[in-house]
Each structure stands twice: as C-alpha cells, then as structure tokens.
C-alpha cells in the first residue's frame, strides 16, 4: 500500500511540476498533493479493514476463485503467444548468424579443439575437452557419450569466444572402464563427428 502510495505520489509530483508552468501557485499543488495522498490512504485503510472482516470461508473461496482466474489468464496469454509464434516463421535466419560467428571467433582467438584425459583415483578419469560451439552442441556431445556407455559426473561446462570447454570426471555407466589413451581417442572421434 505504501509502495503504491509513494509511486503515485511520485507521479503526482511529476505532474505537478509540469503544471507549474501554467500555474505559479505552488501552494495549491502541495495542498492538492496532501489531499490526494490522504484520500488514497483512507481508501487503502478501508480496503484493509474490509479484508480483515472477511471470514475464513470466504477467504479460502476467494483465493480459489482468484487463483483459477489467474490460471485462466495465463493460459489465454500463452495461447496468444503460441499463436503469434506460429504465425511468424521468418525468424529462423537470425540464430545462424551467431553460429557463423562461432567458428570465426575460434579462429580469431586461436582456440583449437583439444582433448585431455588424465586418470585419477583408480577407475576415474578426468577429461578436458574443447570444441566448437554449435547449436545444441553440448547435448550432442553428451548424447554421444551416453550412447557409448559413459557419463560425466561433477561436470563444468563453460562457453567463451565461440568455443565450449568441458571439464569433468568421466566414468562408465555400467562399470566399464577405458584406459587413458583409449578415452582420448574416443573423445577426439566424437568431436570430429559433431
């Protein structure tokens, strides 16, 4: 309530300033402002009192109605959004612009695709892969790994300058394990095929 009051206060003040050009009687405006503010406060207090009078049943019923109304609104709006989306299909060219930039950027900054594999702690491996950013690249990478029976745990994926950096622990889902060299080759293969 107070927030609203102060917001509308600000509006009134702004309007009052504008009106000063026409009317130099600033006392009028401040009086008006006070009166306006008081009126708003009175209304706010009365509404609060009315709210406090409601009994428990009505409160719950009103909540149900209001939430249902809001849900309907959300539905209507999202349908509108979908409709607008389906009507305008020409937007597809824009995303490719970003992708074109990716490989260019990589070249510009001298980033090269890279695979590093280290063994840690028994069966676990730690990998570090850099590859070119593409739309859906991460998903493809992960999918390739999963299809081969591997997964990333405790992963960190960063994107910068058109390249994606994946550093993570690497292990087989079903307990299978590969050696360091084999893993490295595997990963390089995957990147190349992306």
């Amino acid at each position: 309530m107070e927030f609203l009051g102060s917001a509308s206060d600000a509006l009134c003040i702004a309007q009052a300033r504008r009106r000063q050009v026409y009317d130099d009687n600033s006392m009028y405006k401040s009086k008006n402002l006070h009166a306006e503010r008081r009126r708003r406060q009175k209304l706010g207090d009365r509404l609060l009192a009315l709210r406090s009078l409601m009994n428990k049943a009505t409160i719950v019923e009103d909540a149900i109605t209001y939430i249902q109304m809001l849900q309907r609104n959300v539905k209507v709006l999202s349908d509108q959004l979908l409709e607008i989306d389906s009507l305008s299909v020409e937007e597809d060219e824009k995303p490719t612009r970003d992708e074109i930039n990716a490989s260019e950027q990589m070249k510009k900054y001298g980033i090269k695709e890279d695979v590093k594999v280290t063994g840690i702690d028994g069966n676990k491996l730690w990998i570090r892969v850099v590859f070119e950013k593409k739309r859906g690249g991460i998903a493809k990478f992960l999918e390739a790994l999963t299809s081969l029976g591997f997964e990333l745990t405790d992963a960190n994926v960063a994107t910068s300058k058109g390249a994606i950096l994946v550093s993570s622990c690497f292990k087989g889902i079903y307990g299978n394990a590969l050696g360091v060299e084999q893993t490295k080759k595997l990963l390089q293969e995957i990147i190349r095929n992306m």
Binding site: I64, N73, L77, L81, K94, I138, A139, A158, C169
Partner: protein
C-alpha cells in the same frame, strides 16, 4: 420472566409530553422505582460477583447511579413499550446495544438518547443466574469487534408480548437482532449445557462439541420457541463463535439460511475447500492448513509474475511483427531488425517441486538461470541439455555434480532471439522430463 421495562428519555420531546402527564405518578412511583433500582443494583452486583471483569460491574453501577438521579419513571407497559420501540426505530444509529434482562424484581431498560453525550454505551445486564459466565466469555470478543454503529437487540426468551414487540420491528432490525451474541445467551433454555460447551471454545474456532450436544441444544431452542426469528440464529450463532471477525452478515450472507445442521458438516465443507485450494497448487507439500495457505500465497504471487511476463512477451511479439510487416510493405532495406523492447526489463522467476526434483527458473531479460536439484540418479545433464535445445535456450555455462544424496546443477543460458519462451514453460517442461525419464530408467541401471 419479563417485567415491565422502565424507560426514560429526558431529552426527547415525546417523553416530555408523556412525562408532563404523569407528574403525580412520577412522584409516587419514583420512590418505588428507586427501590427497585437499588434492588436490581444489588442483584447486579450479586450476579457479577463471579465475574472476572469488575470494571464492567463498576461501570454499570455508576451508570445506574447516574440514571437514578434523573426523573426515571416507571410507567405503563404499553405506552412505554411502544414508545421505546419508536425510540429504537428512530434513533437506531445512536444506540449501541441494550438488554432486556430477566430480572426477578426490577427491570431496567435504558434507552439512551442523549445528544449531549455522544458516546456509545453498552449495557450488558444479565440476570440469568447461570449465564453470567457465558456473558463474560462472550463479552471479550464482542467488545473488540463490535463496530460503532451496529444495533443489537437482545431479547429474552419469551412468548409473551415483548417478543411480539420484537417481531414488529422492521425486517432490517430483525436481521441485526439475529446476529447479536447476547441474543443467544438469553435464549438458551439449557444454560448449564451451554456453559459446558463454551469454555472449550478456543478463540474464534469451531465449537468442538459433539454432534449430539449441538443438535440437542439448538434443537431444543428451536422447539421451545415458536418465533421464527430464532431459526436463523442457529447458523448465525455458530458462525459467530467460529468466525469472530465476521460481524455484519445480515443480508450479505451468500449461503442459505441454514447451511449446516451439524458441526461436522461445516468442518467437512471447510476441509473440502482447503483441499480444493490445495489441488490448484503446483507444489503441494504438506496437508496442514497453514502450509496450504502459505503455498497458495506463493503460487498467487508466481501467477501474477507469470501473467506480467506473458503480457510483456505478447506485447513485444506484436511490436516485432508489426515492424516486420511494415518493413515488408515499405520495401525498406533496413539493416538489422531490432526487436522493439518496450523499455521494461522482463524478469520473472518461479520454482517447481516434484517428488524427486526441484527446479528454480529465473529470467532476466534474455538470460535464464536454471537451478536443478535431483534426488535420484538420472543423467540430468543429458536430458536437461536436450530440453534446453527444445526450448531454444543456449547454455552458456553449466556446473554441478554430486552432493550427498542429490545431484545439483546450475545452468546459465541465453534465450535465442525470437524465441518467446517463458519461465513457467521452462520449469514445467524440465520437471516433466525429469519425472518421465526417471520413471523410464530401470532401477538396475543405477550404479555408483
């Protein structure tokens, strides 16, 4: 038992006419009346002896003394009753409340119409020996809740003419009569039973009586009183004790006049309402009423945010499309077609929980931050990345791992231009995928 009311009104012109006609009667009756008053004062003090509120007693006694000094006269029943009725009807707004009490000896009703003293006074004179405790209990909430201008009549439990007098009141008065708590006090034909009921009422909650008690109590009331005015007060009575905050129901009550015959029905109705509310919520956690209400509050706020967000998106889309159309028709070779932001920053966030997954989605402008906590072992990364692609989100940074029993991930993504995805959609989709994938994963595949 209802004795003749003694009534005075020194400031009323009508009273003056009446008074002037009875100077001798006054003189003769005054002494008797004073005696009556004293007796009744004694009785008052006797009745209030057990009261915890001594202030009310002393106040009342003070009032009594004050009015003794006026020319109180004990006039004929009929004239004064009608006079009083007239008074009440005329000066409704100034009268707060007064009782016609069952007194054995004297009976005093105060019709106060004193323009000099513009205060409101309430006299809770109660003479039923058993009811003072009830009155005391009722008084506490009543004092705090009565608005200034409500009129309340309390009448005694009689079939004698005073009731007829009540019935003669216009309809609106009737309704206001019904919802006065003291009204019910004087009506109760079985005060001891009533008294047993009341001490167990927590403040403002349901009467925790057994069905039998409630039925018998109000059933008897209904039976013993042929006055139709009492029927409404059954529901009104219970409602008053349950909903202390609801004072002026009157004609504004949406329910029918006798919605519930039993307390259990009312409770069940209430619980149905609460569960209905709970079913609307997307993140139902506990079943107790407090958390239902709390969740409802959060959900309402979230819905409001979503509505704003969607409005903003629709607005943007429309502007964007119109721009494109304009470009097409005008044949202008504009370099870049900017999306026309209408100046405001889009921001929204929401959370969704399902049995094993918690999702927190925050959107600022075109950056989406998704926090995911997954209890069971699924390959979150893969599925979520796929979902992100579907939703046209470009992951810029992903981090997370295994923490205790949970898998926690944070995704920083950017929305591809032209996509109009909104927070709710993201969260819902992620939860959906998580749940289905978990259901699809055979349990034997989980290995650590």
């Amino acid at each position: 038992m209802y004795e003749e009311p003694g009534c005075f009104d020194p400031n009323n012109s009508m009273a003056e006419g009446v008074y002037s006609g009875f100077p001798q009667a006054m003189a003769n009756n005054q002494k008797q009346f004073e005696e009556n008053l004293e007796l009744s004062a004694e009785e008052l003090s006797y009745h209030h002896h057990n009261h915890q509120e001594d202030t009310s007693v002393s106040a009342m006694e003070l009032e009594l003394q004050k009015y003794l000094s006026f020319n109180v006269e004990n006039c004929d029943n009929n004239t004064y009753r009608s006079h009083m009725m007239q008074q009440v009807v005329d000066d409704r707004n100034q009268l707060l409340s007064y009782d016609h009490s069952n007194w054995n000896t004297g009976d005093i009703g105060f019709n106060q119409d004193d323009p000099q003293q513009n205060g409101h006074r309430s006299f809770n004179i109660n003479s039923l020996p058993q009811t003072p405790d009830l009155l005391n209990l009722f008084q506490l909430p009543r004092c705090s809740l009565l608005p200034n201008s409500s009129i309340s009549f309390t009448n005694s439990n009689h079939d004698t003419t005073p009731l007829g007098f009540i019935e003669d009141l216009p309809a609106s008065d009737n309704t206001s009569v019904l919802y006065d708590p003291l009204f019910h006090l004087n009506l109760s034909p079985q005060p001891p039973l009533f008294r047993e009921l009341l001490p167990s009422i927590p403040h403002g909650y349901n009467l925790p009586t057994s069905r039998g008690d409630a039925n018998s109590l109000f059933g008897d009331e209904r039976d013993s009183n042929g006055v139709k005015a009492y029927q409404d007060e059954d529901g009104g009575m219970l409602e008053f004790t349950r909903d202390m905050a609801c004072i002026v129901r009157g004609s504004g009550n949406g329910k029918k006049k006798k919605p519930f015959t039993t307390e259990r029905q009312r409770r069940e109705h209430f619980n149905k309402k609460y569960t209905a509310l709970r079913n609307l919520l997307p993140n139902p956690s506990k079943i107790d009423r407090a958390s239902i209400v709390g969740d409802a509050i959060e959900y309402t706020k979230e819905l409001l945010r979503t509505v704003n967000e969607l409005k903003l998106l629709v607005e943007r889309k429309r502007c964007g499309r119109e721009r494109i159309k304009r470009h097409k028709t005008e044949d202008d070779a504009v370099g870049d077609v900017e999306q026309s932001y209408n100046g405001s920053l889009r921001s929204s966030w929401l959370q969704r929980k399902s049995k094993d997954t918690e999702v927190d989605v925050r959107i600022i402008d075109d950056e989406v931050t998704i926090k995911l906590v997954q209890r069971k072992k699924i390959d979150c990364l893969l599925f979520v990345s796929k979902v992100l692609d579907e939703l046209q989100l470009d992951p810029h940074h992903v981090a997370g791992g295994h923490i205790g029993d949970y898998y926690s991930y944070l995704f920083n993504t950017k929305i591809y231009e032209g996509s109009s995805v909104y927070a709710g959609a993201i969260a819902n989709k992620i939860i959906e995928v998580m749940d289905t994938e978990y259901a699809a994963t055979p349990p034997t595949a989980t290995s650590i």
